[in-house]
Amino acid sequence: MDVIKGNQADGNQLDAKQIDELIRNNVVLTTTDKLLGWFRSRSIFTVTFGLACCAIEMLNTSSAKFDFARFGYEVFRGSPRQADLMIVAGTITKKMQPLIARLYEQMAEPKWVMCMGSCAISGGPFTDSYNVVPGADTFLPVDVYVPGCPPRPEALIYGFLTLREKIWHPNKITGNVARLRDIGKAY
């Protein structure tokens, strides 16, 4: 790597053009948000939190065959205060709902929520039951939905990669929303 020397002792000065060139080749300019987003998207800490069948698949995803650790996501935290992603994996009952809401409140910002399986998305096969909340998005801001009953581990990994995109490029998502809004205006 070349060393930038603005004022050399032998009087051999670099002109502005050369300095520009050196900076362009050696310095990466970014915003703090983007840098933090890159870090955050690559090491998501998940709160260990299984509700029903999907939790077993979540466990399976971290096992040898699917090896979640390849993507840097194998850390499961027991406490919500140390985690930044909540995977709602399973049926939410009316008795459990206030506790899930409290867990979400206890998580530190920034935080994300992933809905795993049809129960967490909409109540799934139990949607007409008297004791089942029809979906986590009735009381939580959900970022990613992973459909399936239960989803295969590959689907969960795909969900994680989607979440990574969302954390790293939040504009992509907002951009889509804006575009959709424009389409809506056209009609």
Binding site: T48, K95, M96, V132, P150
Partner: protein, 367 residues
């Protein structure tokens, strides 16, 4: 004399080792459990009520989600109960019977696999978890080929099974069964023979024969306490009387026995599947059942040896297409009631292990 004070500790419903959303309020004296109180119902989905608004066939996928570690076995219990109610137990084709046995035993391997894995995790043995899940994943891949989903296959039908399985499947199954004994040897090597593991589990929470019977233990936990009773052998349902297998019995009924017994049972399941693969005949896989299932007025109770214990369905029919009442007898709900007495007086780190050794699944406990 040092004065001590009792401490109330809330474990769950969100806790890594409660195996779901079970909650327990422990009263501690120092590090020892003085009292434990069960709180359940965090996963109560109202399955029994839902059954009343579903037709008999529509309820089969719901049974998968009861004890989600052993979907095919639950389906088997339910369809056998309905068949008994309709009086067509004798009409099930031979091939379907064999396929059912293969499915149920495969599911037992998967369920005990998850027991070994999570039990190892609760003793802080991460490596054994990976070993146990490696074979379990192979079993699950086969179950995917049976029904299209890993945990919830929805393969059993009232009167047989959904479809015949291809030659390829049997070849792969045979290969897996040949490999399985070596895999179980590995579990034995890494866990059963492990000195640290033994000192954590041996002599912890001994359940006597009398206590096990009093609390209504069934399945592996009952046999671990020394009661020689297995429904597959003593009251054979389906075609289980055609297979030769041993029923392992525990000696003392401690946590270690409950673990070892399940590992031994896996070996027996492999034996049963091997025999079934040799004996399986060609033929149809579905009996002639009417499209709309309308059992006669009456009621029936049928109970099978699930991986976790006796799973029973009590169905009351009023002659219509939907059951008037479906009651699910779940083994782990019954066995969980013994947890306070099993945990009393033990060390707090053992309480987690005792809970794991009962092998609860909250989907079935709360229904």
């Amino acid at each position: 004399m040092l004065k001590t004070q009792e401490l109330t500790l809330n474990m769950g419903p969100v806790h890594p080792s409660t195996h779901g959303v079970y909650r327990c309020v422990l009263t501690l004296d120092g590090e020892y459990v003085r009292n434990a109180v069960n709180h359940i119902g965090y996963l109560h989905r109202g399955l029994e009520k839902l059954a009343e608004s579903r037709t008999y066939s529509q309820f089969i996928p719901y049974t998968d989600r009861l004890d989600y570690c052993s979907g095919l076995a639950n389906e088997l219990a339910y369809v056998m109960a309905v068949e008994k109610l309709m009086g067509i137990t004798e009409e099930i084709p031979e091939r379907a019977q064999y396929l059912r046995v293969i499915c149920a035993e495969l599911q037992r391997l998967a369920s005990h696999g998850i027991f070994v894995g999570s039990f190892a995790l609760d003793t802080a043995g991460m490596t054994a978890f990976f070993y146990a899940f490696r074979e379990r994943d192979r079993v699950l891949e086969l179950i995917t080929r049976i029904g299209g989903n890993r945990l919830t296959p929805n393969y059993m039908r009232i009167g047989g099974v959904a479809r015949d399985l291809e030659e390829d499947f049997f070849k792969e199954l045979k290969q897996l069964m040949d490999d399985y004994d070596a895999a179980i040897d590995e579990y034995d090597g890494i866990l059963t023979g492990n000195e640290i593991f033994q000192s954590r589990t041996k002599g912890v929470s001994i359940v006597s024969k009398e206590m096990a019977l009093d609390y209504g233990f069934t399945g592996p936990n009952l046999r671990a306490s020394g009661v020689d009773y297995d429904m597959r052998r003593d009251e054979p349902y389906g075609i289980y009387d055609r297979f030769k297998f041993e029923v392992p019995i525990g000696e003392t009924g401690d946590t270690f026995d409950r673990y070892v017994l399940r590992v031994k049972e896996m070996r027996e399941s492999v034996k049963i599947i091997k025999q079934a693969l040799e004996q399986i005949p060609e033929g149809p896989v579905m009996a002639k059942v009417p499209k709309v299932i309308k059992p006669p007025v009456g009621e029936v109770f049928h109970c099978i040896e699930n991986p976790k214990g006796h799973l029973g369905f009590h169905i009351v029919s009023d002659g219509s297409t939907k059951p008037y009442r479906t009651r699910i007898y779940s083994p782990t709900f019954v066995m969980l009631s013994a947890f306070p007495e099993m945990a009393k007086g033990t060390h707090i780190m053992d309480a987690v292990l005792i809970l794991a050794s009962i092998d609860i699944v909250l989907g079935e406990v709360d229904r």
